[in-house]
């Protein structure tokens, strides 16, 4: 049951082969049995899930046709969920029972999706290995001595281990695509503004975007269909019509122009990963695509730019966690300053503190121009690279991450090395473009992700390109041993 697609499960539900309650129980049991080792979930909402499944079963009897009706999913713990702890992977919010739903949460629930629980994640989505979580690291189901990637590491591991049909994630610098690559699943970061950010706890407001994490592009299309759309509660939400993402999945790729940025295949890329990517590109050649080398000359500026812009925004976004209205508050504050300093000092972990401090510094008097303003300008250069590239090609392809999953503890003490994991994913966030990762031939016995980057609001094209690949290959169907 856990290996079926959303469409297959939906058909089974409608045909009465099984009920949503049975399906939900099946996954809850898998979580019970398998998540102890993975630690992919922070909260399991079994009771609420079963109640939702019952409601879905009643709806299904009436002939309700929403494709997500009765389908068990997992929400990254960054999405506010009414009445449920929403921790964002932080001690700061360990006691935060949200009084409201995020727009994404609300839309999925309205569509009848059954939420099994909340996925572990890097604290406040800051991390590339899921090791910064207050709730401990998540393990990669392909090799539990390795990281699942981050920050949506819990979502990726849970989907890879078949603990849910699909999950939501968020991506600020690669946080959907990189864990999807490292865990062998399909992940899509939509165009900035495509999915509402309301109720999604902010890391870096101009970069954050929510998206689906699934086994296949076909499933991703169904999830995105519900998640995407204009939201009047988010000023940065795009008032653009949402196309039918499933409609063009099978469109021919004959004549598709694929650009391979030479900067994404240079030094630092694991040769085994490069080989897997090359063979995936060959599949596209066979499907009739034209492949050419392109250049994104300012790629080298992406990581440095990101590590100014994202910390600057986060330093301000996280100021609201002050121990006054919600969240962690230190014991017996001596005075106001002590309340702030200890609540924040004790409530945030080291990586969050590092980023808040870098951001505070980059915005402070005397440094603003050299760091923040400069980074806003280099951001423009990076964005312009893509603009030029999309004048020549339809999609850009390359590796999602430079290596396969690395060992737990291997990079956690060296922030800069950790940051370089996102070297291929960050630029799309800076430009606001949609990007996707899909599993290709494994390397070193571990999953490898192919990244596909599209032009603004070209999600349907990305899904089409990914789906055709998944029609030709079975990499996305591989299941880690012990989780079949």
């Amino acid at each position: 049951m856990q290996n079926q697609t959303i469409a297959e499960l939906g058909a089974g539900l409608r045909a009465g082969e099984f009920s949503s309650v049975e399906l939900t129980q099946h996954f809850l049991q898998r979580i019970e049995r398998l998540d102890g080792e993975l630690n992919s979930l922070v909260t399991v909402t079994a009771e609420a899930a079963l109640a939702a499944a019952e409601a879905a079963d009643r709806q299904l009897e009436t002939g309700e046709s929403s494709p997500l009706m009765g389908i068990p999913i997992i929400q990254k713990d960054i999405f506010c969920t009414r009445g449920v702890k929403t921790s964002c992977g932080s001690r700061m919010l360990d006691n935060f029972i949200s009084p409201y739903d995020a727009t994404v949460t609300q839309r999925l629930l309205q569509a009848g999706a059954v939420s099994l629980g909340k996925a572990n994640m890097d604290e406040f989505a800051m991390g590339s290995s899921n090791e910064t979580s207050y709730y401990g690291p998540v393990k990669n189901p392909w090799d539990t001595s390795r990281v699942p990637g981050g920050s949506s590491g819990g979502s990726a591991a849970a989907v890879a281990a078949r603990l849910a049909v699909a999950a939501t994630g968020t991506d600020t610098g690669g946080s959907i695509r990189q864990p999807a690559a490292l865990c062998g699943i399909t992940g899509l970061k939509p165009t900035y503004g495509r999915v509402s950010r309301f109720g999604m706890i902010a890391f870096a407001s101009s970069l954050d975007q929510a998206g689906p994490m699934t086994h296949s592009a076909e499933d991703a299309a169904l999830l995105l269909q519900t998640m995407a759309g204009f939201d009047e509660k988010d000023s940065t939400s795009a008032n653009e019509p949402v196309p039918d993402y499933s409609e063009g999945l099978n469109d021919s790729l004959q004549g598709l122009r694929i650009g391979l940025p030479k900067e994404y295949f240079g030094e630092g890329l694991d040769p085994a990963v490069a080989a897997s990517i090359e063979s995936a590109i060959d599949v596209y050649r066979e499907l009739g695509a034209e492949v050419k080398e392109i250049s994104l000359p300012n790629s080298g500026l992406a990581v440095p730019t990101y590590y100014v812009v994202a910390p600057a925004e986060c330093s301000s976004n996280l100021s609201r966690f002050d121990g006054v209205r919600f969240g962690y508050r230190c014991d017996n504050p001596r005075d106001l300053e002590d309340l702030y300093k200890r609540s924040r000092g004790e409530g945030f972990g080291p990586e969050v503190k590092r980023r808040i401090m870098i951001g505070t510094y980059a915005l402070s008097a005397g440094y603003y121009d050299a760091y923040y303003l400069k980074a806003q300008k280099t951001r423009h250069l990076i964005s312009d690279d893509f603009k030029q590239a999309f004048a020549e090609v339809d999609v850009i392809m390359g590796p999602t991450a430079p290596t396969t999953a690395f060992g737990l503890g291997e990079k956690v003490d060296d922030p800069v090395t950790m940051y370089l994991n996102d070297i291929y994913t960050i630029a799309t966030n800076l430009a606001g473009l949609p990007g996707m990762s899909l599993p290709v031939e494994p390397a070193n016995g571990l999953p490898v992700g192919l990244q596909i980057i599209g032009d603004y609001f070209a999600e349907a094209k990305l899904l089409n390109v990914a789906h055709r690949f998944q029609q030709e290959t079975d990499w996305h169907k591989l299941t880690p041993e012990g989780f079949a």
Partner: protein, 477 residues
């Protein structure tokens, strides 16, 4: 040494919207603590701001009224600092590209001359909450109802050279924002708050002295007193060899002094940057044009129109246009058929006096402009005298009806029958031969005595002009 005073003001006006600047919570005054603070105002995780259209329009209205430069784009920025009344740890304000750029306002000085005061900018921002200092087991209570209330901060150039000018400027801004209907002007409730920057320099010197900032002054009287205190303090300090320190000072109205607010002084580094949750506001010409179309007549325009259209003195025109309701009242009175100059007099003196005495606002006046106009018409057409009119005014005030019915019921109609008046005058002359003798002997002041006698005999109903004319004719025979 002769000192010159240099003053600039930053005025925070609370905009008269229904809802907050970035959320749908109400801004009504006086709610239960935190009952009007929604999750956006409280800065809960993941919530986002959406800009209130009315706040933008009100700011633009102000911009047009001071002939300001208004750019096509305006940007919101975050001002970062920690304070318990600031829920997000930053205030959404504007830094670069404020909604209203350079403009100016003309004030009247005491000597009757005018002076143009430069306005540097006016920007939109959200208000903070309030810290209540009553003792909660040694703690302070935070009420965030006010957090997110839209403010327009109007920043002047340091163009004022006296405390009088500063107060005149503040009053003029107050009059303007109330006229525009963008602020209720209620200073007690904090809808109009003034921060003043004051420095001194030797007369003739060009370089500005070190300024101090006086915070949160909520009445014109306090503004004057705070500035007076601060001016003297600075002069004393400098003359005794000291130096002014740039700092924020709080005016304490109870002690009538300003004192340093050291707690807010420590090296503020606000780390302004564009708010990534909000996009650039684009002001297109259609929006500006439609606001321009809806602009009310401004105080200065109204004042000159009153002077020319109604033939009023500059002083009367100024008085009557102090507030829009008063000007409207006056114009309704005239529209009801009253003579303009007489109306000006009655509205400012009689009605103004009566309201003052009873402590009522103009909006609570028991006499409508139509009723007042009706009364004044009867003076003009000689039905009653000015003196009788005051009686009738009081009767209308106490709810006895309008002028005509009161005149009728009380039989106050003026005697216009010349024959009847002549007969009474003849009698008065006959009864007072001694006074007639004295009058004819040159003591012309006695005319008043005769008029008084005639009025007494007619219970004031004789037309005074007519009485005068006939009396003079008869006495001079």
């Amino acid at each position: 040494m002769q000192w010159e005073t240099v003053i600039g003001l930053e005025i925070h006006t609370q905009l008269a919207t229904q809802s907050k600047i970035f959320s749908g919570a109400s801004i009504a005054y006086g709610a239960e603590p935190n009952a009007q603070a929604c999750i956006v105002d409280l800065g809960f995780p993941g919530v986002l701001p959406v800009l209130n259209e009315a706040a933008v329009d009100m700011a633009l209205k102000f911009g047009l009224s001071i002939n300001a430069e208004i750019g096509e784009r305006s940007i919101f920025a975050r001002k970062n600092y920690f304070y318990p009344d600031l829920p997000k740890g930053y205030q959404i304000s504007q830094f670069e590209l404020p909604i209203v750029g350079k403009g100016s306002l003309t004030i009247d000085r005491e000597d009757g001359s005018q002076k143009v005061i430069g306005i540097t900018r006016a920007h939109l921002e959200e208000d903070a909450g309030k810290s209540l200092h009553e003792d909660f087991h040694g703690m302070s209570g935070i009420d965030l109802n006010r957090a997110g209330t839209p403010l327009l901060e109007i920043v002047s150039e340091p163009d004022m050279r006296s405390i009088k000018e500063a107060v005149a400027y503040a009053r003029k801004i107050h009059q303007l924002v109330v006229y525009l209907g963008i602020c209720d002007g209620n200073m007690q409730e904090g809808s109009f708050r003034v921060d003043a920057n004051l420095s001194i320099r030797p007369k003739g010197e060009e370089a500005l002295g070190t300024r101090t900032e006086l915070k949160n002054i909520n009445s014109f009287r306090f503004l004057e007193r705070a500035l007076n205190y601060e001016l003297e303090r600075q002069i004393d300090l400098v003359e005794s060899g000291g130096q002014v320190v740039q700092e924020t000072r709080l005016y304490d109205a109870d002690k009538d002094e300003t004192r340093s607010m050291r707690s807010k002084e420590e090296a503020n580094d606000y780390r302004y940057f564009p708010d990534p949750d909000l996009l650039p506001v684009e002001i297109d010409s259609a929006r500006l044009e439609s606001i321009r179309q809806g602009m009310p007549e401004l105080p200065d325009e109204k004042r000159s129109r009153f002077a020319s259209e109604y033939g009023l003195s500059a002083e009367d025109a100024g008085k009557l246009t102090l507030s829009r309701p008063l000007a409207d009242y006056y114009e309704s009175t005239v529209a009801a058929g009253a003579e303009p100059k007489m109306s000006a007099n009655w509205v400012t003196v009689e009605l103004g006096g009566a309201l003052n005495k009873t402590g009522l606002e103009l909006s609570e006046s028991p006499i409508s402009p139509e009723q007042l106009g009706g009364l004044l018409k009867r003076i003009a057409d000689n039905t009653i005298s000015g003196k009788i009119a005051k009686q009738v005014f009081e009767a209308i005030w106490s709810g006895e009806g309008d002028a005509d019915s009161i005149i009728e019921a009380r039989g106050l109609k003026q005697i216009t029958d010349t024959g009847a008046i002549e007969a009474i005058i003849d009698k008065v002359i006959a009864d007072n031969p001694k006074q007639v003798e004295q009058f004819k002997g040159g003591k012309e002041k006695l005319l008043g005595f005769f008029v008084g006698q005639v009025m007494k005999a007619t219970q004031g109903k004789a037309n005074p002009g007519e009485v005068n004319k006939i009396l003079l004719g008869k006495l001079k025979d």
